[in-house]
Symmetry: C2
Subunit: 474 residues, 2 copies
Amino acid sequence: MHHADEAGARSRDSEQRRALDAVFDYVDRNAQDFVSCLMAYASHPSISAQNIGIDEVAHLLKERFLAMGMTAEILPTKGNPVVLAQWNRQAGAPTVLLYGHYDVQPPEPLEAWTTPPFEPTIRDGRIFARGIGDNKGQHFAQILAIESHLKVHGKLPCNVIFMLDGEEEVGSPNLPSFVLEHRERLKADLVVTADGSVHPSGTPIVQFGVRGLLNFELHVHGAKRDVHSGNYGGVVPNPAWTLVHLLATMKNAAGEITIDGVYDRVDPPSARELEAIAALPVNVAGLCEELGMTQLDQPQERGYFERLMFHPTLTINGLHSGYGGPGMKTIIPDSAFVKCDMRLVESQTPDEVFALVVKHVARHAPSVEVVRLNSMEPSKTSIESPYTQNIVTAIERAQGKRPLLYPVVGGSLPDYVFTKTLGLPAFLIPYANSDQANHAPNENLSIDCFLKGIKTGAALLACLFDRDVVGSST
Amino acid sequence: MHHADEAGARSRDSEQRRALDAVFDYVDRNAQDFVSCLMAYASHPSISAQNIGIDEVAHLLKERFLAMGMTAEILPTKGNPVVLAQWNRQAGAPTVLLYGHYDVQPPEPLEAWTTPPFEPTIRDGRIFARGIGDNKGQHFAQILAIESHLKVHGKLPCNVIFMLDGEEEVGSPNLPSFVLEHRERLKADLVVTADGSVHPSGTPIVQFGVRGLLNFELHVHGAKRDVHSGNYGGVVPNPAWTLVHLLATMKNAAGEITIDGVYDRVDPPSARELEAIAALPVNVAGLCEELGMTQLDQPQERGYFERLMFHPTLTINGLHSGYGGPGMKTIIPDSAFVKCDMRLVESQTPDEVFALVVKHVARHAPSVEVVRLNSMEPSKTSIESPYTQNIVTAIERAQGKRPLLYPVVGGSLPDYVFTKTLGLPAFLIPYANSDQANHAPNENLSIDCFLKGIKTGAALLACLFDRDVVGSST
Ligand SMILES: [Zn+2]
Ligand SMILES: [Zn+2]
């Protein structure tokens, strides 16, 4: 870089910092109002699993976007509608696609809530309400970030598309087809989602990928009915034993999945990924203590984050056959079944892996029935993406802390619709406190996290596409 | 044998036949009254599992024995009392110990009964009532056999001890200690029990042994609570997998138990036993059809009765871990357990086999908890017992049919208290029809079986100790 360019970059950078500081000031001045608005928003139930309040909340969101000066539509799917808002008045500027979901988990059991789930209440610096962390407080922070920018500067630093899903809590069944159908109007440069939790220490996080998911069941049928284990023991085949022997061919005691071909498409972590996970804090002893375990799963020699990020799993979620009550019941059960999930890593696909499972079962226990349930593609954006530094800088400017970078997280989200269907880099930047109790009674969001979220959202708009950003601590 | 002896034996034999025929005539003449008495007896509930009517029925029995001219006592145990009756006026004569149980199964579900379980009703030549087959109708037939002998001849051909258990349907927990405590007054030459069912063809049966039983559970503990299979998959050990891998070391897919030492005390069938089982009818295709199976359990090459009589089993009665409801639940379960029973063959003992199980688990999965439940020693009386021919002859005289001889049956009964504790030969001679529906709604006993039972009981008293008996079809 020439000296003149450098000087220009420094000047543009300080100008951008001043512009962003003005937005931060606005957020600080309006903090109380923003909290009130969020509480009003969270007071409207929108429970996808129970089909409660969905349309009402979609309309509230549309009105809010329109009032801010964005275009907004409620677009139908085969299930709940998507709220799609847009601001594209920076001609030729790049576009960020923001994703969130306006539906919430059912609040039950109601008696476990200290205050009613749809009567948002502040205690100890936190707002308690169903959906406050997952995901209303987080996408509402993004909305307020846009609003604050528009109020202070009359415009946004980049173009924005905001997509709010109404079925995330029931697995986003219509999101893949929606994204495919509307891929032209979803054209963007990257995707940012604010969902999940920051590190328990309060340190912010950026996640670059998720594992995929494949759920299936194996069903073994024995005699037409349970039979007496004395009168028929040795004569009538036992489906529980058939299932045990089949399962034992699918994963061994050393912790390796032994289905042929499952590891064919498992890539080792890159040097940069290894470097990133080496920097992540982990307290294995604390986790073992918390969960009452003496050691981690097999194999012992595998690193904590390598387990979660770079290895597929085959998990028994449920295994059932015969009698389960007190005392004894001397039967040979008539059937046995297992529910499994597999977490898949980048390059694996549920279709390919399911075909391997079917082939394995056909070879080892052809009478066993295989039933496919849900599945989700894995997703990974390179940690070496050119956006990584801009995101880190934005978070540093908003929160004064360098985020932890997670190349992958162990769970599964439909990020593949962005990375694989739309071909965009996608980043997950959680705003909520780690003890948000999402999906549980007394869900909550700390007001501090909420306000940091608004500022982070604002900083992202300012920094994402800024070629001059300089990290404060790289 | 000298000619004179032979002539004497023939003469004694025909005298005995005439004496027995007189008893048979008496039974025929009193058939209707006997059926009424049985129905009156079965109208009194005596449900050990529900502690209903036990003492009342014990007293009814005692009164009946006293009225017949036997001594009778109600002897306490830690649970329900034993009714013990005796007739010992043939000085120096041998003694048969008759065993039965006066308690019955609970009648539930009541709505499944065509007529109430304790209102005995005749339909289609059968008496319907709870306990009518298991075991009231069978030991009552023995009682009436004694009564008929006494009415016709004023005495019995041998001495008799009658022991009626009040806890058989709850596993006879106090029978072993009772027999040990009272072994002096239970001194006899052999034991005969009328329980179970004749062959479906109506052919009578003699059983010489039962398999033993060992029930145990294996419990695997994982994390303190179910955890998310995405967030912890690969990190937190899965107790369901631990249990699958442990079970797979205990029995292989070829059907062999692979616990070290389990086959050390498994004796092959004797030549006479092989001969006996070769004569037993079996319809494997019919059984497969009835139970909806395509083939028997592994190993395929093993004979039907060899499976049931001469091989131990390791049966999974129940296997449970994690989620079992509809759809998916992506968890790593916090625990897993299996309920197993082992059927043991003669020479094995539950104590020894349980020690092998404990040792196996300690070696393969030391963190797994082993819980011992019920157990019962196996029992076998030699099919070459000197009493075998006398029993066959008695049955032939009463029923006109040669019985099928079962060296062992697959189930488990506490016959070991007779064979092992008292050191006596013990024979099981069922009287009930094979579709008696014991332990089920609409339990029934065919009147024909009941009357044949009385005559068989009478013939046994006459023939058991007769050194001159000649089988009609040997
Ligand atoms: Zn959620
Ligand atoms: Zn019974």
